[in-house]
């Protein structure tokens, strides 16, 4: 049971590394962005896990209930905004990838480097 208490953190580590692998090992730019999304999602999971209190509930106060245990609201606030900022930056990344495709006719890192080597700008 004690070790199960770390399961969330291990899942965080594994998903983080899966995302990291996609970023370093794959040459397709969209796959890299997906890897970044996974990486980001793992960090979200870490924060939300840290805020959880056993037997707690969502931090929404109720009138007349004074002995309720609440999970920590602060990590939730940070991650809530981080999710929306994350999608905006992903959209920006996708925009850059589309423009790269239009100029280089490829979204593969190796092709792009090859073209850059042949005709330096």
């Amino acid at each position: 049971m004690n070790l199960l208490g770390l399961y969330n953190y291990w899942v965080f580590a594994v998903v983080l590394m899966i995302g990291f692998y996609a970023v370093v090992a794959r040459t397709n730019l969209i796959k890299k962005l997906m890897g970044l999304s996974l990486f980001q999602a793992a960090v979200f999971l870490l924060y939300i896990t840290m805020g959880k209190v056993s037997g707690g509930t969502a931090p929404i106060l109720q009138k007349g209930v004074s002995d309720a245990v609440f999970s920590n609201p602060l990590p939730q606030v940070l991650i809530l905004t981080a999710i929306v900022v994350g999608i905006s930056t992903t959209a920006l990344g996708l925009g850059i990838v589309v423009r790269i495709k239009e100029d280089y006719d490829s979204i593969d890192e190796k092709d792009i480097q090859e073209i850059d080597r042949q005709c330096p700008r």
């Binding site: 990291f20 805020g51 209190v53 969502a58 929404i60 602060l74 990590p75």
Partner: protein, 330 residues
Amino acid sequence: MTVLFGVFLLTLLVITALAVVQTRNLVVAVMLLGIFSLLLAINFFLLDAADVALTEAAVGAGISTVLFLGALALTSEHERKRPGRRWLSLLVVASAGLVVVYATFDKPRFGDPDAPVQRHIGPWYLEETAQDVDIPNVVTAVLGSFRAYDTLGEVFVVFTAGIGVLFMFSAPRPRSGNGSLSGSTSEQSGLQDELLLGVVGRLLVPFILLFGLYVQFHGEYGPGGGFQAGALIAAAFILYALVEGQQRALEALPRQALNALMIGGALLYGGVGIAGMLMGSNFLDYSVLSEDPIAGQKLGIILIEAGVGMTVSGVLLSVFHAFGARDRIR
């Protein structure tokens, strides 16, 4: 029981993440990423983060999927296999992963109420919210009032990202490359040929909009707020665009209106902050906005949440239309 359910969901999460990276078909990868987000949202719900779960479900499973598919339509759907330094990457990733796992043994156990993170400022917010702001949802209170500076910054980041995408697509498409400009606008007529999808989609739009508005204005009392509502309202209009075609969606909510939403939201947020200054207090201190400090706090939070919702929905819809309006290379 909940613990077992959580373990099951987290294991599914890892499997889905592996599948996202494994598959060479990028459309499949996008769908799997959507499933990943939905699983993550359920996990957040189990971890007592109702607001975050709502955001992740609307943004991750909904809008992110549409944006990735939009980008795929403009690039290519298949990922080429490349011989490369796969083993070196695996080695780097595995060793980094081992370090992270090793570090987790120092973490407090799951749900430990005595963990340092629970001892510090969290309880203070829970107490102060009841006294100073007096709205039930502590997450909204922290987001909108106690840490309004952070949220303002994040709204500006979202706004800047939206401007960035619009800027990037403002350049005309270069005519080089081997693709011929097909420029077929008739192609973008949506799902009008698909009777069932069209009818069901059209039926869903008003309800999603209504739910978005509920989430926006009920955010002080239950899970919700500007970020979630912005994503939901954007999702409703994106669904409308997918069913009726982009042209009809742009007639319903033209580009100028979207720009006004983006800019107006950010200005409204900043304006509330400056109004507080003009009335003799600090930037983004809402207590002076009304005779009664608590009523002022409530007014300020409603206004800035409206600003957040406007900017988020405006940016997401502008980005969607920017991707959709781009000519395809083929």
